[in-house]
Symmetry: C2
Subunit: 229 residues, 2 copies
């Protein structure tokens, strides 16, 4: 059975893909190059695609920075060293407008072309409660849209949107990854890496990741900037 | 009030934009360059944006041909001279997988950034009954998704998806355009223009357009290939 997986090169999407692989699906990876400042994500996604022995890996370029207004696509500063309370208060400036809607709709096109049964997405509500497009009701609405808006509807085979990590904590996700021998050293989470691609250790994403590894009692194998930790 | 309008340079989206203009909205046009074979659409959309005196016109490039499988993005032949019965039997090969889902999700990102109140789309069910993503229930599902998946939900102002031409025939649309003095000569409908951008006169889109003008008793002012009519 074929599935399309949204793969960013990050920890969550890599564990998601590894879970789908374990369950015997044939993997079609889709990586979006969306004018993010860290091109390193693409390189990592390619390496992970090799490790996963995917059937196909498509990289699609889409310059979302034309719309601006996000720390991930624009020149807004990525917030650093925020406390849990600060991180959980409202929508963070790293939120990219309609990002998951756009990513899922491209995955839907890909799924329709290869006749995939499902789309896997590494969305997670525990760590990203501030992102409206990571919530269960959003994913459910997208499934409904997918059912109505594609040829598959006419052909009678519905397409599922699966978010296996949706309710997991970062520690749970890391434990899942450990069981599946995910090469954590290739996964990239930092919102603001340096020119060599080293993680900063202080943005929300690095903090969540580091707290997760600490909780599991494991050392995060990725390289951080000097003084980053 | 600001509205985002999906503008392809075609007849339907131009009349849609003209209706929004008449109703006093401030127009933010969005044109997708999606690896379509007729680049002429972009040039026409730019000219129409000038005529409409839009507030802003964004053109975003997205190469959907990486996914293949449509006569509009791939090397599949555009069907010609089909009868009404042939045109209405099933999904045509010119259907681009998940096209409107992708377009609407990009419009959603744009709307979120400029804080628009609505997205206008020239979707029309009379002429495109074979396209699952032109149906009212699909547009309704997208409105629901937009409500759930964006920052605006948190900010408490819902965003509407408006398809003013949804139930109109092509003749109705042309009459509307006449009333609004739409420059029909700049609108482009052909799926398969020649190297100079002249319309073929025989693809489904040309046939529907020509039938519409005939019904209204008006001559279509666009140029057709020699022998095309």
């Amino acid at each position: 059975m074929k599935v399309v997986i949204l793969a960013s090169g990050g920890l969550d999407s890599t564990v998601t893909a590894a879970l789908a692989k374990r369950d015997g699906y044939q993997l079609y990876l889709l990586t979006l190059e969306y004018g993010q400042r860290h091109h390193i994500e693409i390189t990592r996604a390619e390496r992970i695609a090799e490790w996963l022995k995917v059937h196909e890996h498509k990289i699609i370029r889409l310059d979302l920075s034309v719309f601006g207004r996000s720390a991930l696509t624009d020149q807004i500063a990525v917030p650093k060293s925020r406390s849990l309370a600060e991180r959980e208060a409202g929508i963070p400036p790293t939120y990219v407008p309609a990002r998951n809607t756009i990513f899922l709709s491209l995955a839907l096109a890909y799924a329709e072309v290869v006749k995939a049964e499902a789309i896997f997405i590494g969305a997670n509500i525990r760590d990203y409660s501030g992102y409206p497009d990571c919530r269960p009701e959003f994913l459910k609405a997208f499934s409904e849209l997918a059912r109505l808006g594609t040829k598959r509807r006419v052909e009678g085979c519905p397409l599922e949107v699966i978010a296996p990590l949706l309710m997991m904590t970062k520690a749970d996700i890391i434990r899942q990854g450990q069981n599946l021998q995910v090469p954590f050293e290739w996964t990239h989470s930092c919102y603001d890496p340096d020119v060599d691609g080293l993680a900063c250790g202080h943005c929300d994403s690095c903090l969540i990741r580091l707290e997760g590894f600490r909780e599991v009692g494991m050392t995060d194998p990725v390289a951080y900037e000097k003084g980053g930790l």
